[in-house]
Symmetry: C2
Subunit: 387 residues, 2 copies
């Protein structure tokens, strides 16, 4: 399946910080066919460094999408049944307006004059795209990691537009440790003189700082166990230790490669803005509790975590699940065994596919039932149960 990234353009969008961004472009791809009553649309929302190219083979690059194992004919997100949309997030650097985009008022890249954005802003723009595509209600919004945050945000920002939500390896709010790892990445970038206050366009850019940031990220995406299995203490090229500061261990070589590779495809300022949006994310914000916030949602939930994911540990998924259960909402929770750490949502597709397939089928069935029929938890019914 060869796919082409498309572009939608909107005059302006209001942001949580109070600023307005104008104009705004969104890069997106679609897979499968929208059915006649437009009821089979699923929005896929990507993680920190993802993009609109979630599935199929890119016409531009020839590369498979970042969730190609999960999206396609007969796969977890079955393109034979569903119409899937994936867009690059606001603030990104893969086609959607972000800090590397030209500020029309200045005639040069926004750089650090780009407004600080939130997960809510990303979702607001996605809503515009969904409206643009003529879809009034999504069968599901699904994503892992930062994608899960967007899915959660969708459920409370546009409750009437989301029939179901899939939240994988994610959280309702960033913890101190998650903020800390992001902050290290930001500091690594900003410490690079070539970052130059964000004004590096036309220059070489903070390649070294960005590579270090990515290296830290990669460690947090794996697990102690997966790193042991993948690298252990294996040496790279030599049979013996080199007694110098070139590469000794395989894991060093891997990290350096991943770091330098990332520099070619990601904008350093986008790194700053998107990690900030993650850190700012707190679904509770303004509400006395997570349950009070989630009470706005009307969706059925599937929450998945992975046992070895120490960056987004299972207890964070359970917080979401418990809040929904306290509201007597329809929520399924799966803690999947895996040794892959946070990366599991990208690579552990076997069981994940089965679970997603079943969940989407039940979402279709529930959507076909008239409102108020068993299975749909109405506000009235809920209030009755809570006394």
């Amino acid at each position: 399946m060869v796919v082409e990234t498309q572009l939608a353009r909107f005059d302006s969008i209001a942001l949580d910080c109070g600023a307005t961004l104008a104009p705004v472009e969104v890069a997106y791809e679609t897979y499968g066919e929208l059915n006649h009553d437009r009821s089979n649309a699923i929005l896929i929302v990507h993680a920190f460094s993802g993009d609109a190219h979630a599935a199929g083979v890119s016409k531009e690059t020839g590369k498979p999408g970042w969730w190609d194992d999960m999206i396609g004919p007969g796969k977890g997100f079955d393109t034979g049944k569903y119409f899937l949309i994936c867009s690059n997030v606001l603030g990104g650097c893969r086609g959607t307006t972000g800090p590397a985009s030209i500020d029309p008022a200045a005639g040069r890249p926004y750089a650090m004059s780009f407004p600080v954005i939130t997960i809510g802003d990303m979702v607001r723009l996605q809503n515009r795209l969904v409206e643009h595509l003529g879809i009034s209600r999504l069968l599901s919004v699904a994503g892992g990691s930062m994608g899960g945050m967007q899915a959660l945000e969708w459920s409370v920002s546009y409750p009437e537009k989301v029939a179901s939500v899939v939240v994988i390896g994610s959280t309702a709010r960033h913890t101190a440790m998650q903020i800390a790892f992001n902050e290290v990445g930001r500091q690594a970038i900003m410490a690079d003189p070539d970052w130059n206050g964000g004004d590096y366009h036309g220059g070489r850019g903070p390649a070294r700082g960005l590579a270090v940031a990515r290296m830290v990220g990669h460690i947090t995406y794996m697990s102690d166990e997966s790193m042991r299995q993948k690298f252990g203490r294996r040496l790279r090229e030599k049979d013996v230790l080199g007694f110098d500061f070139s590469v000794d261990f395989e894991v060093e070589s891997y990290l350096r490669y991943r770091g330098s590779q990332f520099v070619d495809r990601f904008d350093a300022n986008s790194y700053l803005y998107i990690t900030k949006a993650e850190d700012y994310f707190d679904l509770t914000g303004g509400f006395p509790s997570l349950a009070a916030s989630l009470e706005r949602s009307r969706a059925r939930f599937l929450v998945i975590s992975f046992t070895s994911d120490w960056l987004y540990p299972s207890y964070q998924s359970l917080e979401i699940v418990n809040a929904l259960r306290s509201l007597v909402r329809d929520v399924a929770y799966c803690a999947l065994p895996s040794e892959y750490g946070h990366d599991a949502f990208l690579v552990e597709v076997g069981e994940q596919s089965e679970i997603v397939r079943g969940f989407l089928a039940s979402a279709v069935r529930a959507a076909a039932r008239p409102a108020g029929a068993p299975g749909a938890t109405s506000r009235a019914a809920l209030q009755e149960r809570r006394g």
Copy 2:
């Protein structure tokens, strides 16, 4: 107790890499009194960023030692009973010869011409210091983290000189994840243009890179839980999010402070050399198994781990314990509950003190028994038991 750091000087020392370093100076402190038969000496070995100032108040700086809660009259390492020695490691930057020391052949700092050193080299130099102090046998060698590696190395390099060993929050070999975190720190330093291939002496030095390296380190020394308790999502100065890239969260402020503070007291090249020594450390090296390597030791062992230490997880302590048990050696193992992560060995002194106190007392009793008496596992007795 006001203490003064002293200096010992040796003509030369042979290193594992094949090079010879000449001359070598060692900064050390001592606490308590050596008894008349010189049988109460304990060597304290420090962690990555530690120094010779383990206890008391420094005459130079007025600051308490890094393990002052554990070392002193009536404390875990009781200076009323024992004579304690602590020296700065080879390759360090706190008085002992390291990459910032003047290379007498060149008349300027060694910088990256300093030879790559190992934990074995550190221990070899400590042995010279112990000999210099007129001590032929240590009652104990004790340390946490990289200190635990040195203690393990002592037990196999100088088995006849070590009656007991205390290994806290440590490992017999660095895993891929541990190497990976160290490599990120090294890359952060070397990515800083002010590192200048290590030749920054007289210049400003790679302050930004070193600060980033230290920030990563600090995250790994804490735990998700301790960071939640200490910082949570608390904001630093503002009541609301700043929507800019200054400090929002307490945890960001803490990491930046710790990073910049570290720059004032630590040499960037020492960071490279000492982390490399950690990564190279593999007690198994050259032996078919950890047990085969530890078979050389003659010491009684106390191994302590902390439940929330994810940088040096308990299973690494258990590997050591299990190897010793397979050899029918005298080993006590305590997995102490703590929320402080790897830092626990520095801050969880209550139970740790009690355990160390009891262990040292039993080491004294065992040392007083004639060789071959019950409690001392002789090679003959061991071979008998193993059939």
